[in-house]
Amino acid sequence: MKADRLTLVESGGIKKWACLTCPGGCGEVINLSLNPNQRPRWRISEDFWLRPTIHPSVHQKNECGCHFWIKNGQTTWCRGGRPSKPSKGEIDTCYRGK
C-alpha cells in the first residue's frame, strides 16, 4: 500500500503548517494552520516512525465534507464523516522549510 504524505512546513524551528491531500479522495489539498494564537488551529505530534497525530479532528466544509482523525498515521472517520471514495493510505510526515 502506498503511503500518503503529510508535509510539515517549518520556518526557524516553528511548525507552521501541516499540508496533506484530502484522504476523502476529492484531491483537494488541506492546509492546517498550527498557529496556536488563532482559529482554526491544530496541533501535531509524531511518533518514532514519523507517523503524525493531529489534534483535534479535521472537518472539510467543501462538497467532500469528510471528517476524520489522524492518529499515528492512521485516518479514522468520524460518524457521518466518511466520504464516498476514501483513500486507504497510511500517512507519514515529511518536512519542508520555508
Partner: protein, 317 residues
Amino acid sequence: MKNIDANLNSMFFITLRVVQTISLMMAKEGIQPMNKHTGKMTFRVRIADENLNFKDHAFDDPKVLGRQLIEAAGGHPVDEHVAIAILPNGDFEDIRLDESYDLRGRGVEKVLVARSDRSFKFKIDDADLEWPRACISGFVLRKLAKLPPNYNLWQEIPGQHDKKITDTDVINLADAGVERFVSLIDQTTEGDALPSKDQTYLSGHGYEFEVVTEGVNTGIVLKGLPLPDGKYEHTAADVLILLPRGYPDCPPDMFYVAPKLTLAGTGQVPKACTVEHRFGGRVWQRWSRHNNAWRPGIDGLQTMVARVQTALAEAQA
C-alpha cells in the same frame, strides 16, 4: 436554393460575430464611440482613492500623463501624489508624473491615486503589488488580491507563525519583513476536540460535558458530577480533565474540581488538593492523583472518569 440559404446564414453569422468583437474591444478599452458634446472619441478610466473607492473619469486621449490622472482625481499638490496603474491581472505599474502613459496599450482597467512620497512593495501570491502608504487594511489587501469570499489571506512571517489577516487588521508595510501574503481556500474547520469514542462514552453514560479550550490547552468539563453521599460539603461539582498533547495516546494526568471541595463535618481539604489552577475563566481545585497505567489505544476518558470517581470516594484529610 438550399446552398444559397446556408451561405447567407453563415455570412450573417460572421457579421454578427465581428460586431460583437468590436463592441467587446470597446468595452475592454473603455472607449465610448462619441462624445455627444464635442463629437470626439473619449476614453473612460476608473480612478480609485486609497480606500479603493472608484470613480469614472473621461479623457479625450488614451495617452495621459501621471499628473493628469492625479488632477482628475483631485489630488493636490500633484507632486505629493502618485498614480499607479492596476493591470488586468492585478499587477501594479507606476505612472510617473510627466510620463505619457497609454492606458489602452497595457489594458489598464483602473488607476489608483493617493497621497504619498514613496510606495511600499509587497506580494500577494505571485502578483507584485505596491501601496502608496505604509499602513494598509486587511480589507484593502483583500480587494487588491481580488479574493473570493471563501479565501483567507495570510501574512507569511519567516521564523514565526503565519498570521491570518482579517478585514480590520492594519498592517504596517514599512515593518521589516512585511512583504509576502498568500491566499488559501477556507474549507477546513476544527472538528471535535474529543475522539468520537470518548464522545460516545460520555453521552452514552449520561454525562453532561463541555469541551473548553484555552490557548493551546483543551479540557473536558463534566458538569454537575454527583459526589458520594454525605462525604463533602457539596453534593455535586464540576470536574475538569485536561487533555495532554498527544491524547489519547498520552494519558491525562491530574484532575480538577470546582467548587473547591472540603470534607463534610471537619471542613478539611482532602490530601494533595491544596493547589489552585486557573482554566477557562474559573478557579479549580487540583487533585494530585497521578496515572501510571495507561494503555494507548485502549484507555480513554472512561478510564479517567473511573479514576476520578475512585479518588472522590476514597479521599481522606
